[in-house]
Point group: C2
Chain length 432, copies 2
């Protein structure tokens, strides 16, 4: 039975969380936010202001996560806090019977994934990582091409998080008082994690879409993972340049290697290569999203979609506009057409909408609990492999064998397992 | 003491060999080819014709390799035969006291490298793999930038052999009679190797230049190697498309995976990633040559040289012409200037000239025996790693510890270990 409105508890109201919240307030009159939660009053103020500015009622506010779970009116919880708390919070939300969404990120320890798995298996309440890049136009074009069989049999995919971030991270962290803390601000997780850990810490933007293209957890699974870290020089060097040689951050021996390469082998014989690359200078952001099949390829690095038989061209850079016109995913076709009428948050909007549609329709989510757990497991697996000199480690099968016969479970236009066109469903509930 | 002329025995006169021979006949009046060797009369005819056409005396011809080694007049041997014979032939050439050059390629078995190493250690006669891409303009620009310290500390390099070859390989092989053979032609090594083996079979074009940039065998060494193979679908599929579904080649289960990713860790903390990618459709050839340092990067995929502090640009494709103007390696600067006067073979010419200059001057070669052995070892190491599910294998240190204190050994403008400018040496002996 379809709900007319969806009541969401919004948990964690930091900068990124407010950005996403703002998207959820656009073209979504069927969504209500009766309660928000954060340990910081300043963050609660900011989210409240945002809601009121966007014409919504001022929400209930709480510092206590348990309180949002007790409210029987709440349909779903969106957990937008830092990395440390998410797994435990998600577990509690599932056990409280609430649809649960979590922001992108990995577990620190594999056992977090298994605890969350038990909660899911006992409750069967849907759990979704809000992996926004699954709904990016490029990745969805490739998904569309893949699911139509136009790449032919796919044998290899790759992607990475290539993003030069030292200035952003260091300056944010420098403004954070490490002794006293600053109410409403927090040291950036990346710096703290890079000081202490060495692994593929941020794989979901590329791996999420790749998993969908390769049918991971639905007829295929990840089998082994091997990770390799270069030495760590970028952040220390950048801190010296940006903050001065005597600064605290210029005198840390960071554990996190500058370039982390990870190779995953899959049950059906495909390989996946991931790369984390955030501490060395580079002129452009890229997820290097790449699909290789016997009939064609997509490469984000050159922005080229190519099919066997097309002319080979050494100087082919960027044929995307032409290819979008031919191969856009139907959801993006519609989104681009409607989007022209006004701004909204692109991939964040779409991934949140995918979650909310699932809550509204009472279905599972297009990125489901098993997908979410597989994404969360990468960091601890990578850490173990690096610590063992690149030895391959086994990737857990969180479906416990069900991957062999699982079907796409969301027959909606937000489905990422096949391409479903449903003209009866509009992607916007209102007609602004 | 400098020789006025260099006398070379040219061994193996197939298609590629004749192409290189032609380059060696241009602007190299100080080089003579008194004897050529091949088991095929047709190949000997072709090379003879070429020499005579280019105004050289008709050479002695032989089917018997041992014969060229007996001639006391011969200074050097260039071994341009197929992969199978090279290691053994090189060993014999070293033991005969001849400067030895071999075409690019790997060993099949690690023990081949160790036998060759013993021959080198006992004779100390120079051995050089003719790794032409070490002298390519892009790679030399990056070398120049690296040796000037402008990348800052380098932490990661990568490269690959991305070349869509099925049509070329299959058609060549289809025309070869597998039962009787065809005199003067031969089944292409790649097809035979791809039917039977699964490994990084062709790493030298990218790894050669990377080794020089990272100072491998001179203050640094390769430590471990891990390789991963995707499933093998490309060649079988291509054979069906090109030769028909019933063709012999469309019904082979090739062992060679379509995409081979290899990660090498180095003693000084750098990582190297290699990729072999020759059987799936792609629109452009690339070696994806990439250098990442704390102060800058080069990426062939986008053709961009970038330094920290330059503007970040999402749409930056190809700034090479601008960068060549600023950072060309002095050898290429000179070569490009002189090259305008007439055609010669680019990287093949330069790498052969580097070898010949070493013979002439009685020095070691800029790619030396240890470099050559390290390059040759990659295929068997990769094969072992893949067979063990991607387990890291140890890369032998052919220098047996000498890498810790080895200096650049060729103080010439062909040196690849540092940038040596020597105005007194012309790169052409003649003034055509």
């Amino acid at each position: 039975m379809m709900k007319k409105t969806v009541k969401i508890a919004y948990v964690g109201c930091g900068g990124r969380a407010c950005w996403v919240l703002q998207d959820c307030l656009r073209h979504m009159k069927d969504v209500e936010f009766p309660i928000i939660c954060d340990i910081r009053d300043r963050a609660l103020d900011r989210a409240t202001e945002l809601l009121v500015e966007m014409g919504r009622p001022a929400p209930k506010r709480t510092h206590h996560y348990e309180e949002v779970l007790k409210d029987p009116e709440i349909d779903a919880v969106m957990i937008m806090t830092g990395w440390e708390d998410r797994a435990e919070m998600a577990e509690k939300a599932l056990r409280a019977g609430k649809y649960t969404a979590i922001e992108v990120g990995c577990a620190f320890e594999l056992s977090e994934c298994f605890r969350l798995l038990e909660a899911y298996e006992e409750t069967k309440v849907p759990l979704m990582m809000l992996e926004n890049c699954c709904y990016s136009r490029r990745e969805m074009m490739a998904l569309n091409v893949a699911k139509k069989g136009l790449f032919g049999e796919i044998v290899h995919c790759e992607g990475g998080y290539h993003h030069h971030l030292p200035a952003e991270d260091l300056l944010r962290d420098e403004n954070y008082d490490r002794i006293k803390g600053v109410e409403g601000e927090k040291s950036h997780y990346r710096i703290q994690s890079y000081i202490h850990r060495n692994c593929e810490q941020y794989p979901t933007h590329e791996l999420g879409p790749i998993m969908k293209i390769l049918g991971i957890n639905r007829g295929n699974k990840m089998l082994t993972l091997s990770s390799f870290a270069s030495k760590a020089r970028g952040l220390k060097d950048a801190a010296g340049k940006i903050l001065g040689k005597d600064n605290y951050y210029a005198n840390i021996d960071y554990k996190q290697g500058d370039i982390i390469n990870t190779v995953i082998t899959c049950q059906n014989g495909e390989t996946i290569r991931l790369c984390l690359d955030t501490t060395l200078p580079r002129p452009f952001y890229s997820r290097n999203f790449t699909v290789r099949g016997v009939d064609g390829m997509y490469t984000e690095e050159r922005r080229v979609l190519y099919f066997d038989g097309m002319e080979e061209q050494a100087d082919l850079f960027d044929n995307e506009e032409e290819m979008f016109a031919k191969y856009d995913h139907p959801l993006h076709e519609e989104y681009v057409r409607l989007g022209e009428r006004g701004g909204h948050g692109g991939i964040d909007w779409l991934v949140c909408r995918a979650f909310i549609e699932s809550v509204k329709n009472g279905t599972n989510t297009p990125i489901d609990a098993y997908d979410t757990l597989a994404l969360m497991a990468i960091a601890p697996l990578s850490e173990a492999s690096i610590a063992q000199g690149g030895a391959p480690v086994q990737v857990p099968d969180f479906t416990r064998g069900k991957w062999m016969h699982r079907e796409p479970i969301v027959k909606s236009k937000y489905c990422l397992d096949e391409v479903i066109v449903d003209e009866s469903v509009k992607i916007f509930d209102e007609d602004e």
